[in-house]
């Protein structure tokens, strides 16, 4: 396993360097923003110039660029995010409240999408050329190209506003008189269904392609020839082997779906990380925006890293 440990070491260093580059990029972009946090303070009519100056120096915006960059990097890498401008709370507290929600919503949706997608994809490939195949490919393609916020809005209109099956927005509403966990699940349901549909499209297509590769293999023919029942051939011999590339893409799919959280959380007013990020950007709440961006980036990088390790473990060729 010497090759493997070397591979892990190289990949870790690469990931860390990538993280440093992205952090720097984020710093530069925040510096390039046309509006500065102190501009927001200045719009409050009761703020005295001396107070604004005090706030600016408190948050360190009067210090030279290099010094700020250094302290920014150190703070980010040590997870010391400071205090939010807009909520006057430690950023880490805000984030620790938000992260689990986003993880629940997007993690849940991705897991479901994979469970359903693998089954559907295998089935579709098995009955290749049929009505199911044609229509599901078309439907998948349509969902794949749909703007996520739009389908989210449509679901809101139909299932929340018209049919009133689900609540319109939010996370937990004490007036519903439901147990805490049930109420949260009820709120999460609709965005999760939308998310499921959106990520299902990719999974189904991926699984279909993988399954089509497998179907032509000799052992499938053998399995059929020795008279195994169709479902056994399909799932035990076919799907199981075809699943491999699909499953390994799971982690990446999950972290990338979190990147898309900004859109859907906005539509469903879901108080997760994505909504927090957008709000922070508009409120010029730099500490929160930077921290959220950092956490999302970190998750994506670690997800990629983990996926690479799994590939490396499964397929020795990539270790080189």
């Amino acid at each position: 396993m010497a090759g493997m440990s070397r591979y892990v070491a190289v990949r870790s260093i690469q990931t860390f360097i990538t993280l440093l580059i992205i952090l720097t990029l984020i710093f530069i972009m925040f510096e390039a923003l046309p509006a500065k946090p102190q501009d927001l303070l200045a719009t409050t009519p009761n703020m005295q110039p001396s107070q604004i100056e005090y706030m600016v120096s408190l948050f360190g915006y009067d210090r030279p660029l290099s010094e700020r960059y250094l302290s920014y990097m150190v703070n980010m890498l040590t997870f010391d995010f400071g205090i939010s401008f807009s909520q006057a709370e430690p950023v880490s507290e805000i984030l620790s409240e938000r992260i689990p929600r986003t993880m629940l919503l997007f993690g849940g949706a991705t897991v479901l999408a994979y469970l359903v997608g693998i089954y559907l994809g295998a089935l579709i490939a098995w009955r290749r050329g049929g009505v199911l195949d044609g229509s599901s490919v078309v439907i998948s393609l349509v969902f794949y190209n749909m703007p996520s916020f739009w389908i989210g809005l449509i679901f809101l209109v139909v299932f929340a506003s018209e049919l009133e099956w689900f609540p319109l927005t939010g996370w937990y509403d004490p007036t519903d008189n439901l147990p805490y966990v049930i109420d949260i699940l009820w709120h999460v349901c609709l965005p999760m269904i939308v998310l499921l549909l959106l990520s299902l499209a990719g999974t189904v297509l991926l699984m279909r392609t993988a399954m089509l590769d497998v179907i032509g293999e000799n052992y499938m023919v053998t399995a059929k020839a020795i008279g195994l029942p169709e479902s056994k051939v399909l799932f035990k011999h076919g799907a199981r082997n075809a699943m491999l590339p699909v499953v390994t893409s799971f982690i990446i799919a999950f972290v990338f779906s979190i990147g898309g959280a900004v859109v859907l959380e906005n539509v469903f007013s879901f108080p997760g990380m994505g909504a927090l990020y957008i709000d922070a950007l508009f409120q010029l709440d730099f500490p929160v925006a930077q921290a959220t961006l950092y956490i999302i980036t970190l998750m994506v990088l670690l997800g990629n890293f983990a996926a690479d390790l799994i590939y490396g473990y499964l397929d020795p060729r990539v270790r080189i």
Binding site: Q14, I17, T18, I21, I22, L25, I26, M29, F30, A32, L33, P34, R128, V138, L141, V142, Y144, N145, M146, P147, S148, F149, W150, I151, L153, I154, L156, V157, S161, L168, L212, V255, F256, I258, G259, G260, V262, V263, N266, V267, G274, Y277, I278, L281, F282, A289, L293, I296, T297, M299, V300, L301, N304
Partner: protein, 750 residues
């Protein structure tokens, strides 16, 4: 030797014929290549459908300005979108009617009791009683009762109604021989009271009934008329409050300027009718200010007489010793006159506009220039000042930008727009009415030549527009008054005569019912897919939106594949350090949380279509770079590259001439997928508030839907842009898939 030379020459410089043959050959090769590609491509049914959809959208984009039902910046007229209860009565046609006047018998709150119209030629006057009603949507409405007709002297040029103490009605008629004019006075019940002879035919007038002062409880009405050389002032108290011993409370006085020419309205400036009141006369020599002398009864302090006294000051039209040309006309001179005395304090300037767009203010008491300014109106280069009015807090400037009308609130302390929350608005045409104060709403109502009625804030920010049914208004809009129910103010009304010749009275408090569902509306317009919140036709917007979508999609994808292809080619051709560095950069790009980073870029770059294209290009090239690199890695090992290298081709030539054409199909392939991605990305950015606010895009339409709060109740607005995005994005994706089968033959067997 000679022949040899000739041969060499020929080899060096192919003649025209050979060139032509070569180009024909190239063309044939391209054509046959295209034909072969098409033969494979057309086997894919979805690919052909995708191509058809894209072609359809392209046609829409190109022909939008002819085929779209409305212009790109069309907004449904107020008559369709703004529902306020109104009442109308047909008037006798072929009559030159005056503006609509609201009559009241009370002074303070102007409760509207009757409305009247006056015929200039015939003197016919129709008066309708009005009562409150309830509109269809439960809003406060209006009802008009059966009319009474009066006959007044015909030929009035000046007509106004004073809502002051008890009510007056003045008609100024030039006498029949045309020599002089008469100011006629009627009371609220249209009974003739008295008349005064004006010693000339007036050219300018100013009317002022701001004399009502709670401080002194002594109301006054001052009117000043002028022709080119004379000023005549009448100052009176209402006859209803005559007291024993003071029967006549009307004072008149006049001034003559034999040498100077009067160029604008004379202005009576009220110093709460203590000594300090003034009469200002703008002449071609400058402004001349006369003091008014009030004689009071010693015990009761009642005013016994008012007369024009000595010249207090005189000022030339100069700014920093440079002469300027003042605007001339009926409202050139204005004192920022507040309706209540408390806000009057400290704003004692007389303002005059200049023909080059400047405003000059003179101190009321000393005549010294206090400030001058050239108001800056963001987005407007040239404008002319036409009239000045006053409001409780501002000098109101009315002007024109050449095409449009302009109304602005000017800070009377500095002459600036923008200070003190002042504001300006452009309106569709010249103003044809004085901005009239709507009590209670703290709003102004005015109308334009185009027949549109505007409701603006005290700062002259337009809140609402109205238009009368039947082709808009033909008379200036006039504020009529209020109707009350049980002590609370309920409705403010304006009146106009519309193009169909009907009296039209409408409440100023209405409801915007846009977004409108599909259908035909009172203006006669048909909105096939309905309208959005501001009354934009959805179909028109979707059609014009196609342009921006195709532009953003194609150019963003183009730039990103160009970057990606070049990076991939270079990285593949130099697999050493350069390639390794480029591939690390590619890895960094690929591991970015794409959308989240893109939002930060969009925030930093600022919202514009161009920036969205650039951002997409610099964040999306990595995927294609990887593919192109791997294709390049295999291609560079092939024999024809070695052959070219041996024959001395440079690296650049090898990359772009020999390897390049082999990766082009992949570039095209990824470009189609990229277009599909860029279209959706633009929509997402726009939806999240980072789109170009000046462009019509499908994403912006959906963002506006979301922020206007109609995402749940306007499916006709929600569906079309989303369907369009999905269709166009899907179409490019399908093209990509079909093309993929051309480029990667192994896919074909499936």
């Amino acid at each position: 030797m000679k022949t040899n030379d000739a041969v060499e020459d020929k080899a060096k410089r192919p003649d025209a014929k050979e060139l032509q043959e070569a180009s024909i050959k190239t063309f044939q090769r391209l054509a046959s290549g295209f034909f072969v590609t098409w033969k494979i491509y057309r086997r894919s049914f979805t690919g052909v459908v995708g191509l058809g959809i894209v072609f359809g959208f392209f046609l829409i984009a190109v022909t939008a300005q002819w085929t779209a039902p409305y212009d790109a910046d069309f907004k449904a007229p107020a008559i369709d979108t703004f529902i306020a209860d109104y009442a109308s009565r047909d008037l006798p046609t072929d009559v030159n009617w005056s503006k609509v006047i609201g009559l009241t018998s009370s002074i303070k709150e102007r409760p509207l009791e009757r409305v009247m119209v006056y015929s200039f030629e015939e003197g016919q006057t129709i008066v309708y009683p009005v009562t409150r009603g309830i509109g269809e949507l439960g809003e406060i409405g209006i009802e008009i009762g059966s009319p009474t007709t009066y006959v007044l002297p015909s030929g009035a040029e000046y007509l106004d109604y004073a809502h002051f103490y008890r009510s007056f009605f003045f008609a100024l008629c030039p006498c029949e021989d045309g020599s002089n004019a008469t100011l006629m006075e009627y009371n609220y019940d249209f009974a003739y009271l008295r008349e005064h002879e004006v010693p000339f035919v007036p050219l300018y007038h100013s009317n002022l009934w701001n004399g009502f002062s709670p401080l002194y409880q002594e109301g006054r009405l001052a009117l000043a008329f002028a022709d080119e050389h004379n000023v005549w002032m009448i100052n009176k108290r209402p006859p209803e409050i005559t007291e024993p011993g003071i029967d006549s409370v009307t004072f008149t006085n006049s001034l003559t300027f034999p040498n100077a020419t009067i160029v604008g309205n004379p202005l009576v400036v009220d110093g709460d009718f203590t000594n300090g009141s003034m009469l200002l006369v703008p002449t071609d020599e400058g402004i001349k200010a006369y003091s008014l002398v009030l004689t009071r009864a010693s015990l009761t302090l009642r005013v016994l007489d008012i007369s024009i006294d000595k010249l207090e000051w005189e000022t030339n039209y100069t700014i920093d010793d440079e002469p300027f040309e003042p605007v001339t006309g009926n409202n050139m001179l204005k004192f920022p006159y507040p309706y209540s005395p408390t806000t009057a304090l400290g704003k004692e300037v007389v303002a005059v506009g200049s023909t080059d767009g400047r405003l000059v203010a003179f101190d009321r008491v000393s005549g010294n220039q206090t400030w001058w300014s050239k108001p800056i109106l963001p987005g407007i280069r040239e404008f002319d000042i036409l009239d000045l009015y006053s409001s409780p807090d501002y000098i109101v400037m009315v002007g024109t930008t050449g095409e449009k009308g302009l109304i602005a609130s000017i800070d009377p302390d500095t002459g600036r727009i923008g200070g003190n929350n002042s504001y300006f608005s452009t309106v569709d045409s010249y103003l044809n009415s004085e901005p009239q104060y709507v009590r209670g709403q703290y709003r102004y109502v005015f109308s334009t030549d185009m027949g549109t009625i505007y409701l603006a804030t005290n700062e002259m920010k337009v809140n609402a527009t109205f238009s009368a049914p039947g082709g808009g208004a033909v008379t200036p809009a006039s504020f009529l008054g209020n109707i009350y129910i049980e002590g609370s103010r309920t409705g403010n009304y304006f009146g106009v005569i519309n193009a169909e010749g009907a009296l039209f009275v409408e409440t100023l408090t209405g409801v915007n019912i846009a977004p409108l569902p599909p259908g035909t509306y009172p203006s006669g317009n048909y909105y096939p897919l309905g309208t959005d919140y501001e009354g934009h036709d959805i179909l028109t917007q979707v059609m014009f939106g196609t342009r921006a979508e195709l532009l953003v999609g194609v150019s963003a994808a183009f730039f990103s594949v160009v970057i990606g292809t070049i990076v991939g080619l270079v990285a593949g051709f130099y697999p050493g350090l350069v390639g390794e560095l480029l591939m690390r950069a590619t890895d960094v790009m690929l591991s970015l949380p794409y959308l989240v980073i893109m939002l930060l870029f969009a925030a930093a770059f600022g919202p514009s279509l161009f920036n969205i294209i650039i951002i997409f290009a610099i964040l999306s090239w990595a995927g294609i770079a990887r593919v192109i690199r791997s294709v390049t890695l295999t291609t560079r090992k092939r024999a024809f590259v070695d052959a070219a290298r041996v024959s001395g081709a440079s690296d650049t030539r090898l990359i772009f001439r020999h390897i390049g054409p082999n990766v082009i199909p992949y570039t095209f392939l990824y470009m189609t997928f990229m277009i599909s991605g860029a279209i959706v990305t633009e929509a997402i950015l726009a939806f999240l508030g980072f789109g170009d606010p000046n462009a019509i895009t499908w994403g912006m339409m959906l963002q506006f839907l979301q922020i206007s709060g109609h995402s749940l109740d306007a499916p006709w607005w929600l569906l079309p842009p989303g369907i369009a995005i999905t269709l166009l994005s899907l179409a490019f994706y399908l093209i990509g898939r079909a093309f993929d089968e051309v480029v990667n033959p192994r896919l074909r067997r499936r």
